[in-house]
Structure formats: C-alpha cells, structure tokens
Symmetry: C2
Subunit: 331 residues, 2 copies
C-alpha cells in the first residue's frame, strides 16, 4: 500500500448556509421541528427565506465543515461535492480552497442553483435547518476521482449524501475504491430523520463498508430503533472498527470491539450556535486518528474542535484549531 498523501477526503452535499436568528414562535409558525434538518424544494426555500430575518451567508455542508476543520488543524484534505457555476457556488469553492482543502469537482453548468441551507438559530443556541439540495443532486459516480480516494488515509462520507439519489452510487463507488486501496471508510449519520429515511441502507453499509462511524445519541438510537443509548452501544459494537458517539454536553463515547472510552466534553464559555458541532468533532477525531493518536486523544481533539464551533455563529472554525489544540497540549 502506497503512503497516503492526504489525510482525509470528504464527500458531501456542497451547501452555502444562510443563518438567521429566530424564536420558537417563528419555528412553530413555519411548522419546523427544532434541531432537525428538513429537505425543502425551491419554492419552499423562497417562501421560508422571505419570512425569516436578516441573515448571513457562509459556506457549510456537513463534510465541507469537517474538511475545513481538518485543514484548520493543519491536516491535508480534499473535498468532493457539486455546486453550480453561480455566485454561491463560487463562494463555496473560494472558502474551501482558501482554508487549504483541495476541491476539484467541476461545477454544474446547467440545472438547479448551488444548494443552500436555511439555518434558524434560536436563543437556546439550537439550530433548525431547511435544505434545498439544488445542484447537489447532480453529484454522481463520475465525480469520484479514484486516485484522490486512493491517496487518502480516510474517505469520509456524510449520511446526508444518501438524500440525492445519484450520490448513493458515488458513495458506494468511493467506499469500494478506498477499501481496494487499503484505506479506511468513515460515515457520519448526519441527522436522526436522515437515518429514518435510509435506515436499511445505513445498516447494510455499516455491516460491510464502514470502518469508522460517527453518530450522536439520537442518530445511533434511531439506527438501531431503540430509546436506550446503552442498548445502541451494545448494538453497534463489532459492527465497525470504531464508533464515535457524541452526546452534546456529556461528551462522547468511543466504542471498539473490545473497549469503550468515555471522553468529556470541552467546557464552552458561551454556547452561541450548535451548528457544526458534530462536523467539527469528526474533524478533530479524524485528525487525531490520521496522525497516530490513541482513541481517547482522538476524542479529546474532537471535543475541543466541537467546542470552538459552538462558541460562535456558524459551523466552520473562526480561529486556528491547530493553535487551539497546541495550547491545550493535545497536538
């Protein structure tokens, strides 16, 4: 097996976030369930946008956020995802390249515009997301560059990628190439409703194609259709090499075939916006893993990155995670 020239390649829905503050009454008036992600069409995207408050735009997308975190930690990463050749598509491409992530996927030149996620942040710092997938539905197997996948220690797939139908093929193709090259495949379950939509497919993937699983408590419980976290831990053990299960302020639990590591959450001075917490946990964890750290250290690095993300508006790091981690004595 050749030495990996990249740490992680992330594949996901390339999305620009549109973030606004909102109160619970607004969520109720729009029929939105707090803390979840709902898929919406173009017309709904327009009506919800018209109803919501002033917003800020910033690049997002679950795997995109994770790769931004990897780059901020000093890691070497690439990203695969589909935008349109429009203003927001150029914003997405600029931002991910500017932080140091390789991004070569050709933008669509026709069809739907670049995807956007309307994110409403409530005063309790929870985020409620409505996603118009736009150009993401064009991502397919043709966008999976074999040499790129083969050159990365880990191929990281976001569960949201199962929503646009063509992307599922891209997903499977990437996993096959990675394994054929002796690399690892990581999957994030993304959202409990996403798990609901694709439970059977995710269970099948986990059984045969995923080495490292990321999920929060609601997602792993949804996957195994249980309300009991401990039961979910028992169910996932042995299904993949590593399951990193996040539990918000209760930290995370890292499960392998024969060990369970409990990792504390990093204290946060002021919780502002939980957008990106899971994505950035994955950044820290995967950066640790691709740099030979033991699993408790990977978890600690994940907690540290998540804490940075939730201390400000928006999902991507505002400060150098490398410096933060060095100051904390983790890397």
């Amino acid at each position: 097996m050749a030495t990996a020239s990249l740490d992680v390649v992330g594949i996901g829905n390339a999305i620009v976030d549109v973030l606004a503050q909102a109160d619970d009454a607004f969520l109720a008036s729009q029929g939105l369930a707090k803390g979840t992600m709902t898929l919406i069409d173009a017309a709904r995207a327009q009506s919800l946008y018209a109803a919501m408050g002033p917003a800020i735009e910033m690049s997002g997308g679950s795997a995109g956020n994770t790769m931004a975190g990897i780059a901020s930690l000093g890691g070497k990463g690439a990203y695969i995802g589909r935008v349109r050749d429009d203003e927001l598509g150029r914003v997405f491409g600029h931002d991910i390249r500017a932080i140091g992530v390789r991004f070569d996927t050709a933008p669509s030149t026709s069809g739907a515009p670049t995807a956007r996620c309307l994110i409403l942040v409530t005063p309790d710092a929870q985020r409620t997301m409505s996603t118009f997938l736009g150009a993401c539905v064009e991502l397919g197997p043709q966008d999976i560059a074999s040499d790129l996948i083969a050159s990365a220690q880990v191929t990281y797939l976001e569960g949201y990628l199962y929503d646009p139908p063509l992307a599922q093929e891209a997903f499977r193709k990437a996993a096959e190439i990675a394994h054929a090259a002796g690399r690892k495949v990581a999957l994030s379950l993304s959202d409990p409703f996403c798990v609901d939509r694709h439970r059977a497919a995710f269970r099948a993937l986990l059984a045969g194609h995923v080495d490292i699983l990321f999920a929060n408590e609601a997602e792993i419980c949804s996957l195994f259709e249980t309300k009991d976290f401990d039961a979910a831990v028992r169910a996932v053990r042995g299904q993949c090499e590593i399951a990193a299960l996040t539990r918000s302020e209760r930290g995370s639990v890292v499960v392998t075939a024969d060990a369970t590591h409990t990792v504390a959450a990093e204290p946060v001075q002021k919780l502002v916006d939980t957008t990106g917490a899971g994505d950035l946990y994955a950044s820290g964890f995967l950066h640790g893993l691709t740099h030979g750290r033991d699993l408790p250290s990977c978890g600690r690095l994940g907690s540290l990155c998540a804490a940075e993300a939730i201390s400000h508006f928006g999902a991507r790091p505002e400060t150098s995670l490398k410096t933060l981690a060095a100051n904390a004595g983790i890397i």
Copy 2:
C-alpha cells in the same frame, strides 16, 4: 409641514460585505493601507478575493448599516440604493427588508453585478475595505422618490455616494426635496480618503445643504485640512446645525453653534471588528434626534449602538438595539 411618517430615509451604496480574517503581512502583500476603504475594479476584486481567506457574506453598505440600526432600535426607516437582480442583490434586499426597512429601489437588470466590499479584519479588530461598486454606479436621480424623501424627518446620505458619479445628482436632488419639505439632511463623511477625493464638494455641501454632519476624527481633520482636532471643531462650528464627531474609544463630541457636548464611549467587553462603528453611531444618534432626545442622549445612544457593532464580526446589529437601549435606560 405634514407629520413625518418615517424617521429616517438612508441613501447609499448597496453593498454585500465579504468578511475574512487577515494578518498585517497579508495587507502589506496586497498593498492595502489598514483601516481605509479603497475602490477597486472587477478584476482586482477577483484577484483579491482569490488571495484572501475563507469569508462570510453579509449585507453592508454604510447607510444600509445605519438603517438596519434604526430599525433595530424600533425606528421607521427606508433605504434607497441600487443592486443588480442577482444572487447577492437578492441577499441585500432580503436582509434590509427583513429587519424592517422599506426598500423599493428597482434593481438593475443589466450591467455590473451587485457591489461587494472585501473586508479584511486584522487581529487588532481594525477593518480594511476594498470596494467594487458594481451596480451602485447605476444609482441616479430617477431612484430618488420624492414622496419618500418628503415623508422622512431626516434624509441621511453617506459620503461614499460621491464616488459613483451619477449618485452625486441623486444626492443633491434628495437634499433639495428634503429641504423643500422642511426636513433635515444628514451627511456622513465615510472615510478620510473619500473626503480627500471630494473635499471641495463636501465643503460646498456643508455650507449650504447639510444640517447634521457625522465624521470621525480623521475625516473631519481631512475636511478642514488640519491635524488638530480642536481646530477642526472650531472650523465646523456654525457650518451646520449639529456636527457629531466620533473619536473611537474617546467617545464623541457633539458640536452646535453655541455648545459642545462631550460623550463617553460605551465600554466594550471584547473588541472584535470595528466594521460599522460609525454607521451604528449614526443610527443611535439619529434615532434619538427623531424621537426628541437632547443631544447628549443622542450621543449616548450612538455610543451604545457602536459598542454593539464592534463587539462582533460584521457591521449590522446581532441583538435588538431597542432592548439594549431599554436595558441601559436610554430609551
């Protein structure tokens, strides 16, 4: 004179801000002078954007920011400015309407795209701006709605509006309508280099057409070509009804024909980004003025709004200024 149905109508360059962090070395490598605003063309906008780090997009424009502040204080305002019918133009229109400002200016359907301002924020919280005026150059007298101007207690003009040539006519037309309706005209000097570019025009305006002047120390000194703030105060006294002169952490000085009020700056817990400090000072000051407050109270309200703006990334308020002001016992 009819009762005014609006407090303030703002006229300015309708701009979307593209904010990124940068260090002094980057400014130097791009030949940018810290703390200033430089006009750039489309090609330079592209090359600077390509060189700068990951960014966030949010609506800006000096008078646009001021009007957002007025609305956040609970005031009634309208905005006149020109965008293109493109993605960023829709962002600008959404944001200003969503905060409660009336915005009816028709977007351009051809020509340059919506204006953008590339803002580099250095670790010392200073902002350095490079503006591509884009569609702003299309703003002209045809965009000045007489009934709108006549219905507002104050017409607020940003000095930057003197950069696109057609806008100067719009500027003068608005001032004439306002005065004919017995209303007040306010002008912000915007930037010392902007004053350099249009000194004679601004001096002539001040002598005959401006009732309320906003300027910071560098701008008022540039206007009167002096290095001595006290000399500038002497020079401006009597030129207009009220001159509100801001001095960063030293607060502001409000000058009338026969009085000088010194107003303290509002303490800021953490200075993050000075973008919008002057714009939001004008919001508070004008809100006080249009609600019958005495000049020291207007200044205090200005200080409070400026303090909110500089305590976070971006120029527009993140929290309700009305609530902030009520909590501070000012309104």
